[in-house]
């Protein structure tokens, strides 16, 4: 039984017709065809060459085979690969020019049907191709939704959804114009437009007269609609601001009244509200995970909330968070935690974090005015500064320097090349 199966699997499968561009001279049509038919490709090349010399048939057949026969190695046909690419327009333009050139030559040689048929057909064909291509590209399956960043702090644009997709309309409009032009050219070349000329003239005169009469009303209507739209946008902005104030500031004020007896909690609430308002007024930073400055601010906010110590954050520049950036944020957070633990509250005053994100390097300074310490005196088993800050930065190609003088505060300098 197993022998039978082995026999069946050993049988050669019938070869499909594929272009062999690796061994072919031009596009691998003759090479692939020769392999499929089991004959020498040179014979086929001579055949194609002879057919090209006799009326150009060989060239047309070769071009068709090149366009429609897929390439060896599972690649799709040239036509299928070109569809939907940006370079398709270059190919279409080039092919169109070659076609036009061939048509002009045929016309010059007298191998021509008639101007009244050929040019309208060419125009209509180009227009129809554009419209068909556009309708295929506009299908829902062919247009995956583009992920968009949602900005909860900004009101949605009520007119965004109603705007027409102008880039998609362009080719379809050109296609429709070409088809209409083809019809008009056909009618004009066949002298069929003469009876319609009088009617057209009358229509034009009536349209011009109506335009002159109705223009003032139309202009007033357009201005009224614009003013109404602006007023609606202003009203929505006002509603948005009112809703935000209600949800954040008024709620915080209510909490402050309720917890007036706990100064630390009140200070925390005020700081949190201040941060939120600043972020809202500045248009909001990117998500902490996407932004180095945002991540540092989020880490500072978290430490501030956990330890109840105010932290001033100043971040200059921004960049996406990569592996090194994540290590920098983690080290800065550890430095902030240390500062909050040992220097926060009491006479320690506030903690400051200054970050400068440049093109080549990122520098972060965490300063406090606490009691300071002697780094050499820290025992080896304390891993906070040695491993979480200095060691982490070193592992990721950066450096961390702790400047501390007992009684004069501490500054942790974190530098990482980008």
């Amino acid at each position: 039984m197993s022998a039978n199966i082995g026999d069946v699997s050993a049988q050669p499968r019938p070869r499909l017709l594929r272009r062999d561009a690796d061994t072919g001279l031009v596009a691998g049509v003759c090479s692939g065809l020769g392999r499929r038919l089991g004959i020498d490709p040179i014979i086929l090349r001579v055949g194609f060459g002879a057919a090209t010399l006799v009326g150009g048939t060989g060239l047309v057949l070769y071009a068709l085979a090149w366009a429609l026969v897929p390439e060896e190695g599972g690649r799709r046909t040239t036509v299928a690969r070109l569809a939907g690419r940006r370079e398709t327009w270059l190919v279409v333009g080039g092919s169109g020019m070659l076609l036009l050139s061939a048509m002009l030559l045929l016309r010059e040689w007298g191998l021509w049907f008639s101007d009244a048929i050929a040019w309208p057909v060419l125009l209509a064909g180009a227009g129809a191709a554009l419209i068909w291509r556009q309708s295929a590209a506009a299908a829902p399956a062919a247009a995956p939704p583009v992920p968009q960043r949602v900005r909860p702090d900004r009101p949605p644009d009520p007119f965004r959804a109603r705007r027409l997709p102008t880039p998609a309309l362009g080719p379809a409009a050109i296609g429709a114009a070409l088809v209409i032009a083809a019809g008009l050219v056909f009618l004009w070349l066949n002298d069929a437009l003469a009876p319609a000329r009088d009617v057209l003239l009358a229509v034009v005169v009536v349209v011009v007269a109506l335009t002159l009469i109705l223009a003032p009303w139309w202009l007033r209507l357009v201005r009224g609609l614009s003013a109404e739209r602006a007023e609606r946008i202003r009203s929505q902005e006002r509603s948005e601001v009112a809703a935000h104030l209600h949800d954040s500031v008024l709620q915080t004020l209510a909490l402050v009244q309720r917890r007036a007896g706990d100064p630390r909690e009140v200070a925390n609430l005020a700081r949190r509200q201040e941060r939120e308002l600043r972020a809202w007024l500045n248009g909001g930073r990117p998500e902490p995970g996407d932004s180095l400055a945002g991540s540092l601010e989020a880490a500072a906010a978290e430490v501030e909330e956990t330890h109840g110590v105010p932290i001033d954050v100043v971040a200059v520049g921004d960049a996406p968070v990569d592996e090194r950036g994540a290590a920098l944020v983690a080290a800065a957070r550890e430095a902030l935690v240390n500062a909050a633990k040992f220097a926060g509250g009491g006479t320690g005053g506030s903690i400051s974090l200054y970050a400068e994100v440049g093109e080549e390097r990122t520098e972060v300074f965490v300063r406090d005015r606490g009691p300071g310490f002697d780094l050499a005196a820290v025992s080896e088993d304390r891993r906070g500064v040695r491993e979480s800050i200095v060691g982490r930065m070193r592992r990721h190609g950066g450096r961390a320097v702790v400047h501390s003088t007992p009684g004069q505060g501490t500054e942790v300098e974190l530098v990482i090349e980008r």
Partner: protein, 60 residues
């Protein structure tokens, strides 16, 4: 080290050379290039270059 074949440059060079030869022959009086032949030749030249660029795809 041998440079890879640049098909766009090859096609563009051949097309423009062909056009130049036509114009030269016309200038020397070997042929009389009329508008009915000159325009198709120019269109074919530009079309061939566009087609070559489009088929080559984006340059890296």
């Amino acid at each position: 080290m041998r440079r890879p074949l640049d098909r766009v440059s090859l096609v563009a060079g051949l097309a423009i050379s062909g056009l130049g030869v036509l114009l030269l022959l016309d200038r020397t009086g070997v042929i009389e290039l009329q508008f009915g032949y000159g325009l198709p030749a120019l269109l074919a030249c530009v079309g061939a270059i566009l087609l070559a660029v489009g088929l080559e795809g984006p340059r890296r």
